[in-house]
Symmetry: C2
Subunit: 586 residues, 2 copies
């Protein structure tokens, strides 16, 4: 037997027991005639004591143990004279009488501590050592708890988990597919799913009524900071539901997760705001609602006052940064530089301070009479000590987005974005379609199966861009955690959508024929949503990147640097697959 | 609102309530002035009544409803005059006052009944309709319950579910990998995992202690009847364990599953028999233990009696088919044909009947004196009315396997293989290595990381074929449900194994370098196993094929005939992947 107890469970009440522990040497230090070794496993740390007086040989052996050696010890539990309050096992130590070296270890390339000296690259190369660190392991424990609770909740609500296939066919619409050559069908390829969208809809046609799946999905995109080529979705679909049924059920699940994983009881309903409201008030379809600082339109007030930049603007808007009137010139210059960065693209920043006596001092005082400034102060509900920040531009949407970035930055600077505060909301009524200038066609804002709002269907022929969808996103702290829609279940309407999206009858049939055919055999009204598990888990864990809640993540080039994948394959494998490589990496 | 109740929940106690139901028209029939419609959803069937006298329009509309139309109805629940005892909702019917047609349906290509008129091919093409059938849906419900219970059990035992990556690198050892070309790394490929074997071992090096995952795996093999290119494993690994720890824990899980899914309480420990015993007694490493009929060796008894076939045999063995002495000549001829089929390959079959007076009448009476026959009867513990079946051959293993096939066939014929009876056991002590004549090298019987039994390690250099492994399989009803091993955690021993398997240092480093490197940093003793979820679920569901517990299975050519995958991809996709196809399917 390798152990009778784990390294995390011994307490004062266990004193005088004889125990066997196994684990890794975390620390090893000599003091006087004693050697103290901290032994570590997933469950905790326990202090081992080797006494030179009583066990000289054992003590010598203990002194040879390096960091991360794997050992087994037997000994007697003793209460410590000076308990360590910071350690769950801190009340006791184990006086060792037997020591087995199970496996030696090379010195690890970085320290196995919460605050390691290892850089990102080294940690990823030796990810198996990085995972030994408590802070990293705890993220994965949280993720495990989260999937357990998601399953428990959905199962109780009558959902069935159904595995959909991983080897499917490629659909050119949307992001790029990863493809898998078929050896048995030369020249043909499977594709890995970007989502189980069509399969879950088929399951609704099958009458499965309530489906979910926690499932790997794949997207061959140029990777941005927080994207992974493989990622995990909590994918759900329900039949005979309207939008409110879906939102209510998943709001319930979200509250369950907050309660079980973070100990937070959320009793209020999540705010539900329309996409148009969100864009107007926050300049974003994923507003961070941990703080207010809404965008306030000032176009009518400030245009025509003689300030040329405002007079030619289509949109002028401002935010009120509470208590920031004391910002120095230098801080304001930095904010100006921030909004002028190419990623944001504003031309400049106008600001105004609310003085102690209530007057407003603006950077463009000479153009704006105090009366106008007072009206602005009132419109922005500003008070003494506040700083007003104003942007303008020719494109309303773009200017609002710039103001949104500025709002988030001010939220950061003013400490309004605490990681332990969570603000959840639903965004509803997304536009059904987006016009793409470059391709001169409409794209589905969510996907081609999203249902328009019944009351907007009449607009499909004349003003498609105005049609609102029965689509919704769940947003937490400015992060889109999930989203979905009520689907089209009528094949005539689905065909109309495909036409609007520029599919010929043949293309639609080739790509979605099996779904359209399925709809002919009695499709129920249905809808659902999908959550990004990686993102949600990171948010719960308070991480900046999704990587640290993924056991073996890939880097920004889509590589796993630990196993060195992808890599070249044998010519014989290529041959069998009837493939040749036309260009190699250098 | 689409419904206030499901189609499966109304009972006598609900009488006089007004309810709204939604679902599919299962049956529609007129009787006198009434129209009866059975409405169906996942939860059941409810009888709807349309009364011509009171609602002539509704009745007319109901008469136009075809099979599988999707409808919503509102009406009042009434107790039936003649309750249908076979239907959970059979006590009531709903007198409809409102009817909405939600979606019409084409006539399905086969009937949506347990006993459908649709053939396999049609059912697979329209799998979304096939899944509407209760018998098919119930298999997937069972599978869902099974994964829920596996997770619940393992979570309670301290296991963490960790997702390992799907895009990994190719390892030529073993079965063929499916590969995935990388667009961002031209000429390089990911591979889809055949199992998370190396990753779960790395998680043990990381100190995760108890890992599991229910995970898709991939194998590009020429498909046999019951193989799928993608399949699902319950994959588990534990640290600081010996073989018994693993067997005990997973025996516990198995019993939990039998109890929760099949209502069977198994109190006895599972038999544990060694591979050598299994081969000797059953001629198989996955014996069906629902019945006895052990193989009994008769070589010493029957050789040298003058029957030339026996006299030249290396092995002679028999089985005793209880109560089968009444088999006709024709039945025995059929058995002879059975064992002579090329898949089995025996040269002939000798039989003997135990007569009412205790004498033995054999097909080769003239060679065998009654005394020998009586000894044979005793050796086989045969009694009056039994039939003895005897095979012989030059290769002991082959002959035992032939006898094993005959034994299973007799089990079928004598009704000893009831699908509702379950016989579980562990096979232990597998040989570590198998010699491959063709390649003139050893192959690992399980995989290269399997640990030899410590007491056999000294044989590795001299008689490697005799080395037993700490490897085990769990077998139920003659099906290998899962298997695993204690792993090598010592890098010197692992290197020795690689050498025995014919890997050069470079090959081993190239393929398993990251695992071998990881082992240098302190690997704990560890072991685990993996279950085939598809097979186990099929067994619980009493299915002959794994296909019907997979929502969207592939056929024997690895094709999904519903979505028509795999398929050709756009030349632009190939271009982006730096690939060209050298040979196309015709």
């Amino acid at each position: 037997m390798y152990r009778t107890k784990t390294c995390g469970e011994l307490r004062a009440a266990d004193a005088e027991q004889t125990v066997t522990l196994a684990g890794w040497v975390h620390k090893n230090r000599r003091m006087g005639g004693m050697t103290f070794v901290d032994i570590r496993d997933r469950y905790g740390l326990t202090q081992l004591v080797f006494n030179r007086e009583t066990h000289a040989d054992l003590c010598d052996k203990a002194n040879t143990l390096g960091r991360e050696y794997v050992i087994r010890v037997t000994g007697r539990v003793k209460n410590r004279q000076n308990p360590n309050e910071y350690l769950p096992t801190g009340a006791i130590e184990v006086i060792v009488t037997e020591l087995d070296l199970l496996n030696p270890a090379d010195t690890p390339p970085f320290t196995i501590e919460d605050d390691t000296d290892g850089g990102e690259e080294l940690r990823m190369k030796y990810r198996y050592l990085d995972l030994r660190r408590k802070v990293v392991r705890e993220n994965l424990e949280l993720r495990h708890r989260m999937t357990m609770e998601v399953r428990r909740y959905l199962d109780q609500q009558g959902f069935m988990e159904v595995e959909t296939p991983m080897l499917i066919s490629s659909t050119p619409e949307g992001a790029r597919d990863f493809v898998v050559p078929s050896r048995m069908n030369p020249g043909q390829f499977y594709a890995l799913p970007q989502s189980p969208q069509t399969f879950k809809q088929l399951l609704m046609v099958s009458g499965f009524d309530r489906y979910f799946q926690i499932v790997k999905c794949f997207r061959d995109e140029d990777l941005r900071a927080d994207r992974q080529p493989e990622f995990t979705q909590i994918d759900c679909e329900m039949s005979f539901v309207e939008q409110d049924d879906v939102l209510n059920l998943f709001e319930g699940m979200s509250k369950h997760l907050f309660y079980t994983l973070r100990g937070m009881e959320i009793t209020e309903p999540f705010p539900r705001i329309t996409w148009h409201e969100a864009m107007k008030d926050y300049g974003s379809d994923k507003p961070d609602m941990r703080f207010g600082m809404k965008l306030v339109e000032l176009t009518n007030l400030l245009r025509g006052q003689g300030f040329p930049v405002f007079d030619t603007a289509t949109y002028i808007g401002g935010i009120c940064a509470k208590g920031a009137a004391g910002y120095t010139r230098r801080q304001i210059d930095a904010l100006t530089d921030f909004v002028k960065r190419p990623q944001i693209g504003a031309k400049g920043l106008v600001y105004a301070r609310i003085e102690a006596d209530g007057t407003v001092r603006s950077s463009i005082d000479k153009f704006l009479p105090q009366a106008v400034l007072q009206q602005m102060k009132e419109t922005l509900a500003a008070q003494t000590g506040d700083l007003l920040l104003i942007l303008s531009g020719e494109n309303t949407t773009k200017t609002r987005k710039q103001l949104s970035e500025l709002r988030l930055e001010m939220g950061n600077q003013l400490g309004l974005r605490n990681k332990d505060t969570f603000a959840c909301l639903w965004i509803t009524d997304f536009p059904l379609l987006e016009w793409n200038e470059q391709d001169q066609r409409y794209y589905a804002m969510h996907h081609p199966f999203t249902s328009p709002k019944p009351e907007d269907i009449y607009l499909l022929d004349t003003r498609p861009e105005e049609v609102r969808a029965n689509a919704y996103d769940m947003v937490i702290n400015g992060v889109e955690i999930g989203g979905g829609s009520i689907r089209i279940h009528d094949s005539a309407l689905q065909n109309k959508m495909f036409r609007l999206l520029g599919f010929t009858q043949e293309q639609a049939q080739a790509q979605f024929g099996f779904l359209m055919n399925a709809f002919k055999y009695g499709a129920p009204p249905h809808g659902g949503l999908a959550y990004g598990l990686d993102r949600w888990a990171s948010l719960f864990a308070g991480l900046d990147s999704i990587r640290d809640c993924i056991a073996f993540p890939k880097n920004n080039s889509g590589r796993d640097v630990m196993i060195d994948a992808p890599s070249a394959i044998e010519p014989s494998q290529l041959n069998e697959l009837n493939l040749s490589v036309t260009h190699h990496a250098h």
